[in-house]
Subunit: 106 residues, 2 copies
DNA sequence: ATGAATGTTCAACGATTATTGAAGTATTGT
DNA sequence: ACAATACTTCAATAATCGTTGAACATTCAT
């Protein structure tokens, strides 16, 4: 996980609309939902949802697949696990560069 | 951890400048660094650093304390641990609302 | 007191983001 | 073929973010 990719993920999660979408898709993992279902459940105009889904896609946090005339979106749980690992390793207890033993709270 | 606070934290980490600042402060935890040291180590103009530090302060990810004419900044490791817990609980394996047993990768 | 050092706030600008309605692209049903 | 469905892309607007230099407080040294 490079820093650049991490910032993309954090940017994707920095809007409450997108965080809601992602959490919804996690609840419906591994099948995900089609765009219309997301829009209906979260009461978001479809054109706005499309905008936010594009940001989530770009970050890698969600994946997309066409299903006839439906577009199905799924959360990428593996990437979320990578992000959690990134935060634990680089942003938590100072062991990233100094290879110090974990002593504080971890 | 409310969703609103989580988005504040993600927004704070969504800029590479701020992520670099936070990681630096984590490396120097628990003492932290004064603003000038951060500016020097990361080669950021002080006025720009000040702007980013304000966002980090607002999210709670860093804390500040005056030391004579220096301003010392520290990373809030406890809040980072909360964020990791939030991601694990609500954004990882779909157990947030449905109380489903963890089966996928977790 | 005076000047230097530390760091913030202010003002201004360009760049990016969020939101909405209109138009466009595929796909399905009849 | 034709109309309806599902969803995106485009255009336009308001709002926010990022960056910089100038001005401003506060603290320290002499």
């Amino acid at each position: 996980m490079k820093t650049e990719n991490a910032t993309l993920v954090f940017e994707a999660l920095s809007s409450s609309a997108r965080l809601d979408v992602f959490r919804l898709l996690v609840r419906y993992a591994p099948d995900g939902l089609v765009a219309g279902e997301i829009a209906q459940k979260l009461d978001i105009p479809s054109t706005n949802l499309s905008f936010h889904l594009k940001t989530l896609l770009h970050s890698g946090l969600v994946e997309m697949e066409k299903e006839g005339r439906f577009w199905r979106y799924r959360a990428s749980v593996p990437l979320m696990l990578e992000i959690i690992a990134y935060l634990t390793d680089h942003c938590c207890c100072g062991d990233g560069d100094k290879k110090v033993k974990r002593t504080r709270n971890c």
